[in-house]
């Protein structure tokens, strides 16, 4: 029971990740594949953010009148036991924006493929390629 309560965040993330993975490999439509990659990508973001959470912690934004404990660490505001980890937030923040930029490149390629082949279904594109 302890294991289930302790690890459930990873299991949710894995379920979402596998949903995205399934869409990528099982669907023939290229836009659907990009949607699958998006689902996969957000599940990775969630994996990092859940790892960064500390029980009883608050967001790592220091109040103006923050005080420090003797070992040099800032004391969290009343009602909180600690700070959540800022590092995963930093990594994922940049990853989200880079993610949408790369998604845009993928979609642009799909638009061009659609114009060149007249379809964005994977099997039809492969069949057209074989004909040549």
């Amino acid at each position: 029971m302890n294991t289930v309560l302790g690890l459930y965040n990873y299991w949710i993330v894995i379920f979402l990740m596998m949903t995205g993975f399934y869409v990528v490999i099982a669907q023939g439509n290229l836009v659907k594949k990009v949607i699958g990659l998006n689902i996969f990508q957000i599940s990775v973001f969630l994996l990092y953010i859940t790892i960064g959470k500390v029980r009883g912690g608050t967001a790592p934004i220091l109040p103006e009148d923050v005080t420090y404990s003797p070992d040099g660490l800032p004391i969290p505001p009343q009602g909180f036991d600690g700070w959540s980890n800022p590092l995963p937030s930093v990594l994922i923040l940049t990853a989200i924006v880079v993610g949408v930029a790369t998604t845009a490149v993928a979609l642009a390629l799909i638009v061009r493929i659609g114009e060149a082949y007249g379809t964005i279904e994977e099997d039809e594109i492969l069949a057209l390629d074989l004909e040549e």
Partner: protein
């Protein structure tokens, strides 16, 4: 699901729910960005792709059994792997033992103990996420900004064809993309919302040192406001608000500002992107100094590039002629 339109909308909702979860998990910076990007920008980009390629997909002919088996096996292997992972929210997890205490201890003291021993290492902004993003990991963030610049150029190269960028944009203004201007409710609601979205974007940009926010978040929120304007009032009106020549310049200007800050610190005798040397005698206590000034400059650079690239990508997709 055969309707791609519905699939795209559901993806947007999924992103938004993901953003809400991130907010609960003490990552407000990330939640802002995900909400603006996932529910806003990427949904719009996918919809404009659908407008060019068709909104329905054909029925799957192949069996779904093999992918299902592969996915289940991978999932089970991953779940087996989590047995060794630290429990959710465990404060003693290895991820919280290294670097994080140093970041938490050293981020603010340069302001509060300006004369103390921390002044050399501290960053002096209250939001630790901003401090790590722009100062401790400044090289990395510069790289990410260049990646976004490259993606923007890539989309223009792919969708702009052989034409020069400027002539591609010049052709844009000749195209009449149907607008939703005649929908009174949409028009009025958008007009009410846009000033507040823009104001919020500026607040997020310049208050990112003290609260949740920064260049990446502000950039996507700013772009989302302009894209909303474009969706409702049409491409021609948006081109008047955000002329392509200006947007084109801003795309590069942001990266230039970021890298230029690094070069300036080198000229002042520091390392590349070491903002501690950015001291100046003007208005002590009013204008930011040193690390704080450097962070403001590079976050501004990030914000400019991100917003400009997102608007460029939007223009590139919307400006594409429908093939049929």
């Amino acid at each position: 699901m055969r309707s791609l339109w519905a699939a795209v909308m559901l993806t947007g909702i999924y992103s938004f729910l993901g953003a809400s979860w991130m907010l609960i998990l003490d990552a407000p910076d990330v939640a802002f960005t995900e909400a603006a990007v996932g529910a806003g920008l990427s949904t719009v980009l996918m919809l404009s792709t659908l407008a060019l390629t068709g909104t329905t997909m054909k029925k799957q002919a192949t069996s779904t059994l093999l992918p299902l088996v592969v996915v289940s096996l991978t999932g089970l292997a991953l779940i087996y792997g989590t047995a060794d992972m630290p429990y959710f929210g465990d404060p003693t997890a290895p991820a919280h033992q290294h670097l994080m205490p140093e970041f938490m201890a050293d981020t603010v003291p340069s302001i509060h103990e300006a004369a103390g021993h921390h002044a050399e290492t501290g960053v002096g902004v209250d939001n630790v996420v901003t401090a790590v993003l722009a100062s401790y990991r400044g090289y990395d963030t510069l790289g990410e900004t260049v990646v976004i610049l490259t993606a923007g150029i890539g989309v223009l190269l792919i969708l702009g064809g052989e034409k020069r960028f400027s002539s591609f944009f010049a052709d844009l203004s000749l195209r009449d993309v149907p607008s939703m201007r005649h929908r009174a409710i949409l028009r009025v609601a958008t007009k009410l919302l846009i000033p507040y979205i823009l104001l919020f974007a500026l607040y997020v940009q310049f208050h990112g040192d003290y609260g949740p926010g920064g260049g990446f978040q502000a950039g996507v929120i700013f772009a989302a406001a302009l894209i909303l304007y474009g969706l409702v009032f049409g491409l021609r009106a948006t081109l008047k608000v955000a002329p392509p020549s200006v947007v084109e310049t801003l795309v590069a200007l942001g990266v230039l500002l970021y890298a230029g800050t690094g070069v300036a610190t080198m000229l002042l005798g520091g390392n590349f992107l070491d903002y501690s040397v950015l001291e100046h005698p003007l208005l002590p206590g009013v204008l930011p100094h040193g690390q704080h000034l450097g962070i403001l400059l590079v976050e501004l650079g990030v914000g400019i590039t991100v917003a400009a690239v997102m608007i460029t990508i939007f223009f590139a997709f919307v400006g594409r002629e429908h093939p049929r």
